[in-house]
Amino acid sequence: MNSRIALLLLLGCTLAPVSQAQIKHIEMRVEGMT
């Protein structure tokens, strides 16, 4: 049981940084807009 919890914690630590990664904002400057 303990080993399962430890494995889950390890997996969580490994996957969490990538899942928190993301594009937060995009800004464009455009021409020809009326």
């Binding site: 940084p17 990538v18 928190q20 990664a21 993301q22 594009i23 937060k24 904002h25 995009i26 800004e27 464009m28 400057r29 455009v30 021409e31 020809g32 807009m33």
Partner: protein
């Protein structure tokens, strides 16, 4: 254009400022957004994108050609256009350190109206906001 961009995958909100020609796109929290697709959608809606900047958080990785890239999703990364700021991030390649950067993904070339979406967009880092 606002509606056209708002229909793109991963887009939560689009704000358009007619005065200064600025378009701000807010991605969905859990969605994957494709900046190259946004550029194409902008052109398809009848306006020309002069430049595009992105703020993103991710890990520094080395791509297949040995260059540095920012990985924002397991299957989405942006190669860096080399500059002093990207050199400063080299030591973080392959580590779990998360980096938040603001950078330029696209700048219109003189005389060209249509963005070249065949080549992957390169990220020219303008600012490293956070390392954690």
């Amino acid at each position: 254009m606002k509606q056209h961009l708002g229909r793109q995958s991963g887009v939560q909100n689009v704000e358009v400022s007619l005065n200064d020609g600025k378009v701000e796109v807010t991605p969905k929290e859990d969605g994957q957004i494709d900046p190259a697709q946004l550029l194409k959608a902008t052109y398809d809606s009848g306006v020309t994108a002069a430049e595009m900047e992105m703020t993103a958080r991710g890990k520094i990785v080395k791509d297949s050609s040995g260059g540095l890239a920012l990985q924002v999703e397991p299957n989405q990364s942006f190669a860096f256009a080399p500059n002093e700021l990207s050199k400063g991030l080299e030591a973080l390649a392959g580590t779990q350190t998360m980096v938040t950067v603001r950078g330029q993904l696209y700048k219109k070339q003189a005389g060209k109206k249509k963005p070249d979406t065949s080549a992957p967009l390169k990220l020219l880092i303008l600012e490293v906001q956070k390392k954690e």
